[in-house]
């Protein structure tokens, strides 16, 4: 996937024969024939293309993805350019361990992980060239890496080497695909846990690989518990992340006085361990903590505390001694409170993740309690950010203490089930941000319908809703509703044409104290913003055939720069249009070019949809809890496949067409590119 590092212009070009006519010519193309990124053409004549794909049972037949769970099917899909070039040829298909360009130059032999290549007769038509490479027989992971890097190769001349005319998905610096170890399972290391105290509020429960003496410096994950919780209640995270190569330290957290005190203990414990690593626990950690790779995870008041601690450093209110702000690579809040509000409880300029339990009976998310609304912290984060919402998870389900799970509502999740999900998401987050495995980012936005790993709870009660937003450098915002409040104008200054009804644009803050469906509260169920917050979007009633048409800004017309169309949406809780049909809400995502051609794909065709709200009562009358946004990221190549004549250099608008009745919240319409 060379494009992910060095070019925004090439991948879609490779996929679109009409805009890349040179790509349809015969084998051994000159290097200049394709708009390849500098440095990518190390092996002359080799076609660097996208091949790895997830097969779909119907059009668009395949979705370009990079990450595959071990035990799951992995496919190859030839793009139209390669089909045109290779139609009628018998080719060999290889799955090989990833090599960078230099390694390929040094050794071009193809060694298939399956014992030998599969063969394929290239035929006319896209669907005929979606080929399963592995049904799930190959193990994922690679030592302490969650992903096993793979390169996918089409050996056109069938000579068993990567040579001119062949196609490869991979090489460069990044693999073409990643085969992921089952994330909830423990990693390769045995773990040692030790507890010590250096004084009041310096009690630390430390987990580290048993063979740490043989390992280089390790990332540090700090866990800050919540109020009335205990620092010894995070074994599930400590053992898991340490088994994958982290040093995890869970500390006593001074939460009862308040959030400032809690943040102080996050800071003081981080400082203490870094400053005293040579001596604590008999010196076993001496030189083993990489202070430039730190994650802060906080729960509840501690979840707000870690965000506040980051903000204290950022604003200069606290000057760290043994680390610096840029060393904090990830801040994660589990069911956080929001006592301090928009100016103090926020993590800016750092990857941020949020966990929300739908059945949380403490930080409950009801409209009557701003400090109980977790999403506000997520909305303030301005860098890469993730949100993971679990229907049925209670406040206490996130720790492993023996007390109540502090839950109310139907279909509650056990602690065991909740912890499996935590491991399934925390590990990719940590591997991405502390170990540099960008390929696992997909774990944090792909919907479970099409990307559910193994060793996860089988209960139908488990619903996981994800929000994802990459950093600004990887996205072109078409409309995030933060400026230009007129409903016919996008935040990027282009037009928005709506045929939906009842459209209201405003701050995502329920304007009363209940989730009851009431006239005069168009933002009912919205808890993304509290007083002083600015997160805004639109709500509207949808019906089949109704559309929202977002004109693309000039910078968005050339789609070859991007890999995905992205948006986030939620069903409005307790609205009659929502309660009439409880289930996933579908929509069509379309693009229109300057000649009026329309390419379209349904979200459901890519295994995506918008879940109904968690069916919890209280907080007024009716059933349904806070509106839960989910991000839908549509693979551009899959979308454009529906209209082969589409001019990807001249896209003019994004159209969202609804296929059923509903009351919908919508935000963050954007074009994005993968890492």
């Amino acid at each position: 996937m060379i494009h992910k590092q060095s070019s925004l212009g090439w991948p879609a070009c490779a996929a679109l024969a009409l805009v890349c006519p040179a790509a349809t010519s015969q084998q051994a193309l000159p290097a200049s024939a394709q708009a390849l990124p500098p440095g990518a053409r190390q092996i002359a004549g080799v076609h660097y293309v996208e091949l790895a794909a997830r097969a779909l049972p119907a059009a668009p037949w395949a979705e370009r993805v990079d990450a595959f769970w071990e035990g799951s099917s992995m496919s190859l899909a030839l793009d139209e350019a390669q089909i045109a070039r290779l139609a009628g040829l018998q080719v060999d298909l290889y799955m090989v361990d990833h090599k960078d360009d230099a390694q390929w130059l040094a050794n071009r032999a193809l060694v298939d992980l399956r014992g030998g290549p599969s063969t394929h007769l290239v035929q006319v038509g896209f669907a005929a060239n979606v080929v399963e490479l592995d049904p799930g027989n190959i193990f994922g992971g690679d030592g302490e890496r969650l992903s096993r890097g793979l390169d996918i190769v089409v050996d056109v001349d069938r000579d068993g080497t990567l040579s001119s005319g062949d196609c490869i998905d991979g090489a460069g610096r990044a693999p073409g695909a990643g085969l992921l170890k089952t994330a909830p399972l423990n990693g390769p290391y045995q773990v040692v846990e030790q507890i010590y105290s250096a004084g009041t509020w310096l009690g630390q429960d430390v987990y580290y690989p048993a063979n740490i003496a043989q390992l280089g410096p390790r990332p540090l994950v700090v866990v800050s518990h919540g109020n009335g919780h205990n620092y010894q209640w995070y074994d599930h995270l400590g053992f898991h992340l340490a088994s994958w190569g982290c040093i995890v330290m869970s500390h006593t957290n001074n939460t009862v006085p308040g959030i400032v005190s809690a943040s102080t203990t996050t800071l003081s414990n981080t400082e203490y361990l870094l400053a005293n690593q040579a001596t604590v626990l008999g010196g076993v950690l001496a030189g083993k903590i990489d202070r430039t790779r730190i994650a802060w995870i906080g729960h509840s008041r501690g979840g707000e505390g870690v965000a506040h601690a980051h903000n204290r450093i950022r604003t200069g209110a606290y000057a760290p001694v043994n680390f610096q702000l840029s060393d904090i690579k990830l801040v994660s809040s589990i069911a956080p409170t929001d006592f301090l509000g928009p100016t103090s409880s926020l993590a800016l300029g750092v990857a941020y993740s949020l966990w929300t339990g739908g059945a949380d009976a403490d930080v409950n998310g009801c409209a009557d309690c701003d400090l109980c609304q977790t999403f506000q912290l997520h909305e303030r984060a301005n860098f890469e950010r993730y949100s993971i919402s679990l229907h049925g998870a209670g406040h206490g389900a996130f720790h492993n203490g023996s007390a109540s799970t502090v839950a109310t509502g139907p279909c509650q999740l056990s602690r065991t089930d909740t912890h499996l999900v935590m491991k399934a998401y925390f590990l990719p987050m940590v591997k991405h941000h502390l170990f540099g495995e960008p390929i696992v980012e997909e774990c944090l936005w792909r919907h479970w319908n099409g990307f559910r790993g193994f060793s996860l709870p089988s209960t139908p009660c488990l619903v996981v809703d994800l929000m994802f937003r990459p950093p600004a450098s990887r996205r072109l915002v078409v409309d995030d509703f933060q400026t230009n409040p007129a409903t016919n104008l996008t935040s990027s200054g282009t037009s928005l044409v709506a045929t939906v009804t009842g459209l209201v644009e405003g701050v995502f803050n329920d304007n009363d104290t209940v989730f009851t469906d009431l006239a005069g509260d168009p933002m009912n169920g919205m808890t993304l913003a509290g007083p002083g917050d600015v997160s805004a979007g639109i709500v509207f009633d949808s019906a089949p055939g109704q559309r929202l048409t977002f004109e693309l800004p000039a910078a968005g017309r050339d789609l070859r720069r991007y890999t995905h169309v992205s948006l986030r949406a939620a069903q409005a809780t307790r609205d009659p249009l929502t309660t009439a049909v409880l289930g996933e809400h579908d929509m069509e995502v379309a693009l229109r070019d300057g000649a009026g051609r329309r390419a379209v794909v349904r979200a459901s065709a890519l295994s995506m949809g918008i879940s109904e709200p968690y069916q919890r009562t209280a907080c007024g009358t009716g059933t349904g809890w806070a509106n839960e946004f989910e991000t839908i990221r549509v693979d551009l190549e899959a979308l454009l496949r529906s209209e082969p004549a589409f001019d990807a250099t001249d896209a003019r608008s994004i159209e969202l067409e609804f296929v059923s009745n509903g009351r919908i919240g919508l935000d963050e319409v954007a074009l994005e590119v993968d890492p």
Binding site: V192, E193, Q194, I195, Y196, S197, A198, G199, T200, G203, D205, A210, G226, N227, G228, H229, N230, Y231, Q232, T252, N254, V256, P257, G258, I259, V260, S261, T264, N276, T279, V280, L281, S300, R301, N311, R312, A317, Y318, A335, T337, F339, L340, G341, P342, T343, S344, D362, V363, C366, A367, D368, C369, D370, L371, C372, G401, T513, G530, P531, G532
Partner: protein
């Protein structure tokens, strides 16, 4: 490797007892620390259904079970109030309270107050049995140190670190009759007898380890909290 063994509470008590001396709390020190500059609240119309708004009456201290004065050689900051005064002395207490007021939660909790001084709860007191550190600070608390531990009440839910003298004064003024638990002579004598002599220790860490032993004695249901405070000390 298994988790480190906890110190046995009896041993801790013996260590603490060996350092006790018979004397009343030392003179107070003036507050020396101001709240962090970024700790200011938004102050706008935030909805706090869980009860964190204006301070209101919330009676609920039922009995002072044990009380012992303490003195420190090294002070620490009492972050359980906005002024964060330095603590050199005070009372270690065990008391019985309405369990409903003690239940831990993430939203604002009632704040335990004696006189006009906030008490630091060492355990939450899930069954209403609370061990707390009450710093003596006559200037802030408005009562002689010896009298401070004889007037207990709960404020309405709030974050202690956000409460200052004025807020506490206003809250106390608004209390209905009977909201303050005044410790009578018999109760006081019994509590003092159970509490023993002055706890003279080095610092906050040693004080809280004594408090942990009190939790094991007076509120064993919160032993997990106590055990967490009694893990082996390093670097001292």
């Amino acid at each position: 490797m298994k988790k480190a063994l906890f110190h046995v509470p009896a041993a801790c008590l013996l260590v603490a007892a060996a350092t006790w001396a018979v004397r009343e709390p030392a003179p107070v020190r003036l507050p020396e620390r101001q709240p962090a500059p970024d700790a200011a609240q938004d102050g706008d119309a935030r909805k706090i259904a869980a009860g964190g708004g204006a301070l209101e009456a919330a009676p609920g201290v039922l009995r002072l079970v044990a009380a012992a004065p303490f003195t420190l050689q090294k002070p620490y900051d009492h972050v359980w109030r906005l002024e964060a005064p330095q603590v050199w002395s005070g009372w270690l207490v065990a008391l019985e309270a309405d369990p409903a007021l003690c239940a831990p939660r993430q939203t604002p909790e009632p704040v335990l107050v004696a006189g006009l001084q906030t008490a630091a709860r060492v355990n939450h007191g899930v069954l209403g049995r609370v061990v707390a550190v009450l710093p003596c600070d006559e200037r802030l608390a408005g009562a002689p140190c010896a009298e401070l531990a004889r007037s207990w009440w709960w404020s309405a839910p709030a974050l202690p670190e956000q409460l200052d003298e004025a807020a506490l004064e206003a809250a106390r003024s608004a209390l209905p009759p009977g909201a303050i638990h005044a410790v009578g002579e018999a109760e006081w004598s019994a509590a003092r007898a159970r509490g023993g002599e002055t706890i003279a220790v080095l610092d906050e860490t040693e004080l809280w380890r004594v408090a942990a032993a009190w939790i094991l004695e007076h509120a064993p249901e919160d032993r997990e909290t106590a055990q967490g405070l009694l893990v082996p000390l390093e670097g001292r």
